[in-house]
Amino acid sequence: MDDEPLVRWYWIGDHLGYLGGLLADHAVIALVPVLIGLLLALPLGLACARFPRLYQPLAAVFNIVYALPSLAVFVVLIPYTGLATRATVMIPLTFYALAVLLPTTVDGLRAVPEPVRQAATAMGYGPWHRLAAVELPASVPYLVAGVRVAAVSSISLASVGALVGRGGLGYLFIDGFQRTFPTPIVAGIVLIAVLALATDVVLVTARRLLAPWAVREKAVTR
């Protein structure tokens, strides 16, 4: 190890196409689950806002789901989805994303001040109509904040999938470790950070466009 430098640039130069392929695979494995998670979180969150009793048990379940170590969950899924398939990694990532996004959706929907809510009702909005027209737009800053957390975590977690044969850039860690060759590992860490940063920039821009009134970032508790 002593004579091996942290990064051998020629290796990166020789493998640009290979790295690009892994990056694309990683983006799909990590981000499609967030998208699906969002699509699930919206109706679930609306239902929870409409029927508050639903929320407590759901929140408790997702709290536990979120705490499950990813490797263990990947492994448990293998008999059903197969070794080294995208589904083995993407299904758990979807649940992790949902576990982050459901509370933020509900928080966002609840963030509308009570007087505003009552004014909307007084003007003749029905409960569902009001949720869609008043509370949903107001929750956008919360949603975006939640998606940011979910996306970054998902990008980082996806690399663990390499241990069950499908982890996008995570494969570089295994490759580098087995060959005692740090360059791929460093490349993997950097590319994952870059992917996370790029995603984050896209999301912040999206928030500026979708919710120009929200000056301040809303906090996410995870």
Binding site: P69, L71, A72, Y80, S153, S156, L163, L169, P182, R222
Partner: protein, 225 residues
């Protein structure tokens, strides 16, 4: 696919009863490594976070940096650390501490900053020194946040300690990794279920702690959340 037979194979094996690969030993290893990482992370992050939260200096930096550390891939950090420092607890401890520290730091900062400003004002007003305000007023009111941060950090560390088995460390991850390597699915699944159980138990532990160990005035204050 037969879960029952896998589990009975896993638990039934004499290796699980005693010796280095026994369930008790693996759990102990897993807990010891996690606890050690959490201890160092707390030692580092909590006092620093309390200070930053109290003075208000560097808060933006902390929140921005802590968010960014989420992007760090645990497997990458662990493999890199081992390549650079050689197999051993210290090599793995470093990334574990690096992963556990940010949530603790943020929790301490936010917890102190969330102290009711009137209470802080009153504390100064009755003649408490900065040290007395921080330790006697802000710290107790930051306890719920700190506990939540510790929970997040613990979850994170237990998961990462599992992954750390890949580089040759003990703990429950051993079963998962070795099972995968030898195509012994019974061992893999058994290990995975134990990890899940451990994570749930840790969650439960912190839920109970938050319920019963917080000072009553603080606990009740948080109830409306």
């Amino acid at each position: 696919m037969n879960w029952l037979s896998w589990l009975s194979d896993f638990i039934g094996s004499p290796d699980r009863r005693s010796g280095p690969d026994s369930i008790l030993n693996r759990i102990a290893e897993h807990l010891a490594l996690s606890a050690e990482a959490l201890f160092y992370a707390s030692l580092l992050a909590i006092p620093l976070g309390l200070l930053i939260g109290y003075t208000g200096r560097g808060v933006t930096f902390v929140t921005a940096t802590a968010g960014a550390t989420r992007a760090l891939p645990t497997l990458g950090l662990v493999t890199l650390a081992v390549l650079l420092a050689g197999v051993g607890d210290t090599a793995v401890l470093l990334p574990l501490v690096a992963l556990a520290a940010p949530p603790l730091l943020v929790a301490a900062v936010e917890g102190v900053r969330d102290t009711d400003p009137d209470v802080r004002d009153a504390a100064r007003g009755v003649g408490m020194t900065h040290r007395q305000v921080l330790l006697g007023v802000c710290l107790p009111s930051a306890l719920p946040a700190l506990l939540a941060g510790l929970r997040t950090a613990t979850v994170q560390v237990i998961a990462t300690a599992t992954v750390a088995a890949y580089v040759g460390l003990g703990g429950l991850g051993r079963y998962v990794i070795d099972g995968l390597a030898t195509r012994d699915y019974a061992v893999t699944v058994g290990g995975a279920l134990l990890v899940v159980l451990l994570a749930v138990a840790a969650q439960l532990f912190f839920a109970l702690l938050a319920r019963y160990a917080l000072p009553p005035g603080i606990r009740a204050q948080r109830r409306p959340d």
